[in-house]
């Protein structure tokens, strides 16, 4: 169940460790080889390979026709992406920082998300917006936010938050093949993290949560960057005799409600973690789903942990305080379990 232990049914038994970046690049390359309508457009995606070196080398194989360096106009090339998708292509639009969702929100929320509906099903928008989240990279308030709640709020969009190289590759391939617009958000601090990824072809379904660790006393739900935080906290809690279950929903839309609710019913206590701002965020939605579905099994209020509701500071010592860390998760878990 838990990664890294990928399904080996259709893959080579040889496991290798590669970085998150490499996993994303492999997914892009494999899909571009498989389907000539797939192309990449964005800032510095060709020779520069993006600031995170994710697309490095792709322009050599696929040429500038399919790995297109766009001018610095996110709304412009996002619109190109929507139009291309409507006319039969499968673009992967690279939005360097998730903060730039502010620039392209009309293309995302009002165009891509709605055209299939408004055309009475005659048009579809099979495209992927690849972008990033995450603080503590010393990138200051305009390049450090985690805005996954924004697209998750809009019907018509799917939202993917991979937390391992294995999931990143499998879910990106599913995203490219999906006939709906998908917002695919990578933790920019995770790009160099390594994980086991099998050689060869595989895809991962949307809407299936991953129980990364089984436990009985408390459930820690974490997305993207918060998965490792929650797992580290679970490890520390185990040392204190508190058995924590850890669940990664992997996609916020569609959401695997059942797994969250069943886990909450089992443990009776839940902390939900997401690096987006705590107020009105992903954590609130997940907490609500859990509180509603598992109400009569809860022994403590469902708690949320997100980024502090402040502009992310540039000062490293201040910035680090804005993001949940394992110590704070452990403290809250102890409180919920009556172990203060």
């Amino acid at each position: 169940m838990s990664t890294p232990e990928p399904d080996l049914k259709n893959s080579s038994p040889v496991l290798r460790e590669i970085t998150f970046s490499q996993a994303v690049r492999e997914a892009l390359a494999e899909e571009m080889r498989r389907d000539p309508t797939v192309f990449i457009i964005g800032e510095d995606v060709a020779e520069a390979g993006t600031p995170f070196k994710v697309t490095l080398g792709l322009v050599e194989e696929f040429g500038t026709e399919r790995v297109i360096d766009a001018p610095i106009s996110e709304p412009g090339f996002s619109g190109i992406g929507v139009g291309a998708a409507m006319t039969g292509m499968r673009p992967v639009v690279d939005i360097m920082f998730g903060d730039f969702l502010g620039l392209i929100m009309d293309q995302v929320a009002n165009q891509a998300a709605k055209i299939h509906y408004m055309s009475g099903g005659k048009l579809k928008v099979p495209m992927v917006f690849r972008t990033t989240l995450g603080a503590t990279r010393r990138a200051a308030a305009q390049h450090s936010q985690s805005l996954q709640a924004w697209p998750s709020h809009i019907p018509g969009l799917k939202v993917v938050l991979p937390s391992t190289p294995y999931d990143a590759k499998g879910l990106l391939k599913t995203a490219i093949r999906d006939d709906n617009p998908v917002v695919f958000i990578e933790d920019k601090l995770m790009h160099q993290a390594k994980g086991f990824v099998p050689e060869g072809e595989y895809t991962q379904p949307f809407g299936v949560a991953d129980i990364k660790r089984s436990g009985t006393d408390i459930t820690l739900v974490g997305t993207s960057s918060m998965v490792q935080v929650a797992l580290a906290a679970a490890e520390q809690l185990a040392a204190l005799g508190i058995s924590a279950e850890m669940i990664d929903p992997r996609t916020t839309v569609p959401l695997d409600r059942q797994t969250l609710i069943e886990s909450a019913k089992k443990t009776g206590r839940v902390i939900v973690l997401d690096e987006g701002y705590e107020s009105y965020g992903i954590t609130a939605e997940l907490a609500s789903v859990i509180a509603e579905g598992a109400f009569y099994y809860l022994d403590a209020p469902v708690k949320r942990m997100g980024a502090l509701d402040v502009p992310i500071p540039f000062s490293p010592s201040l910035e680090d305080l804005t993001v949940p860390n394992p110590t704070r998760v452990v403290e809250m878990a102890k409180t919920l379990c009556g172990r203060v």
Binding site: S214, T216, K265, K266, G268, Y296, Y297, D299, G338
Partner: protein, 445 residues
């Protein structure tokens, strides 16, 4: 204080030992005239309006909406307009205005705490907030105490899981020492008293091995419905009737041709909607006139013949089954029966039947024809000795003088209390009823 001025939770039906206050129709302190509706009480199967026992000011209200009060309990007092000195204060607004001055805040606080401003001694020229607070600190009226006890007890702090576990185990949360924040009762507090029961009905059992998922599939967890008052009473009565009354059943298929024709004629003549049930009420009443032995109840080893013919009509409502009664049905015309029945059914569906609407039935008709049922056997409605179960009217092949013809027919099934009726008497009654249905025009005007 005069006893007649006391508002007492009344006994409105048999086997009733308490009533639930739905709402007060008169505010405390307001003037009410004798005989006017004072409050609504839910009992047994109905909501009843209770009238004011005297004219005066409603005072000393001891039970709030939602409270379950034993019958015979004094729940309020009607005070005369001029109470004796030292008695419970009136709150007549014009009197207050003339004799007492108070700040608006003080007046509101006094009203919220049921404090009579006349009793508050102001420090200065008028009653201020501090004066009311000082009064409240020194006075805790018995009325308030009993009100708190009878009305809204403070809800103990407990987690949802602890509440569920306590309810499943029949534990009273108020008696459990909570270990959670602010003394909240947690699941562990319940489980330390009574461990989780074994078996699939206990999804809270946590197995030691984390590799085994102890949660049953959600579809396997039994869903529980807490029935409402009507359903609970229905369940109790049906259980008693079925287990304590020796039933037997008689069935017969009846030609409905004339019944259909009669309904059409009656509809046109009266201009009101007339149902087959209305016609059957009239016919059953007529048959009972001929067989008074069946209009009876078994009571204390005796068969009690009942003087009136009151026909109950089993009526499905949202929350179960009620049986409003059409009184003296043998003396009513079909259009009168239809009018009475439509009023009763409307009240039943709205949950506003009065106790007298469901009391005194001597015979019950249950018609499931409209649901497409061919025939069924009904459980008796004690203390009545007979219930008639009516199936649908549908065209069926019937042999007539050596030939198969198509006729509309329905099946009547009678259930009897064998202590009151034997097979032969039941069969004679059924024969009379069948003949009336097949040839009703001679009887009814």
């Amino acid at each position: 204080m005069y006893p007649s001025n006391q508002v007492i939770m009344p006994v409105l039906g048999m086997n009733q030992d308490s009533g639930k206050i739905i709402q007060w129709l008169v505010k405390e302190g307001q003037w009410v005239k004798k005989g006017e509706p004072l409050l609504e009480v839910e009992t047994d199967k109905a909501v009843a309006e209770i009238e004011a026992p005297a004219s005066g000011f409603l005072s000393n209200v001891k039970a709030q909406p939602g409270a379950e009060i034993p019958v015979g309990t004094v729940i309020a007092v009607i005070l005369p307009s001029e109470p004796a000195p030292g008695s419970v204060p009136t709150q007549r607004p014009d009197e207050q205005a003339s004799s007492i001055t108070a700040s608006p805040l003080a007046a509101r606080m006094a009203a919220e705490n049921h404090v009579d401003l006349a009793q508050v001694r102001p420090q200065g020229g008028r009653v201020e907030k501090a004066d009311v607070l000082a009064y409240l600190q020194t006075h805790e009226t018995p009325g308030e105490t009993s009100q708190a006890a009878a009305g809204a007890p403070t809800r103990p702090a407990a987690s949802p899981k602890a509440r569920r576990l306590a309810a499943e185990r029949g534990l009273d949360l108020t008696s459990i020492q909570g270990s959670g924040p602010e003394g909240a009762v947690l699941a562990t507090d319940i489980l330390s008293i009574t461990p989780a029961p074994a078996g699939p009905a206990a999804p809270d059992v946590i197995l030691a091995s984390p590799t085994i998922n102890p949660e049953p599939h959600p579809e396997q967890v039994p869903q529980e419905i807490t029935p409402g008052t009507v359903w609970r009473i229905m369940a109790e009565r049906i259980t008693a009737a079925w287990s304590q009354t020796p039933h037997f059943f008689l069935m017969r298929e009846v030609d409905a041709t004339r019944l259909i024709a009669w309904r059409e004629t009656a509809r046109k003549e009266n201009g009101v909607k007339i149902t087959y049930t209305d016609l059957l009420v009239r016919l059953v009443a007529a048959a009972l006139v001929k067989h008074p032995r069946l209009n009876a109840a078994f009571h204390a080893d005796k068969i009690r013949l009942l003087p009136e013919i009151n026909i109950g009509v089993a009526t499905a409502v949202e929350d179960g089954l009620v049986v409003p009664v059409i009184n003296k049905a043998d003396r009513l015309t079909v259009s009168e029966i239809a009018a009475a029945r439509s009023v009763l059914v409307e009240k039943a569906r709205a949950g506003r039947l009065h106790p007298e609407d469901i009391a005194g039935g001597t015979f019950t008709i249950s018609n499931l024809g409209m649901y497409g049922v061919d025939a069924f056997l009904a459980v008796l409605n004690p203390p009545q000795a007979v219930i008639l179960a009516v199936g649908r009217i549908v065209e069926r092949a019937v042999p007539v003088q050596g030939q198969v013809v198509i006729r509309p027919t329905l099946t009547l099934s009678l259930s009897f209390d064998h202590r009151v009726v034997d097979g032969a008497r039941g069969a004679q009654f059924l024969d009379t009823l069948v003949r009336l249905i097949e040839e009703p025009l001679g009887l009814i005007t």
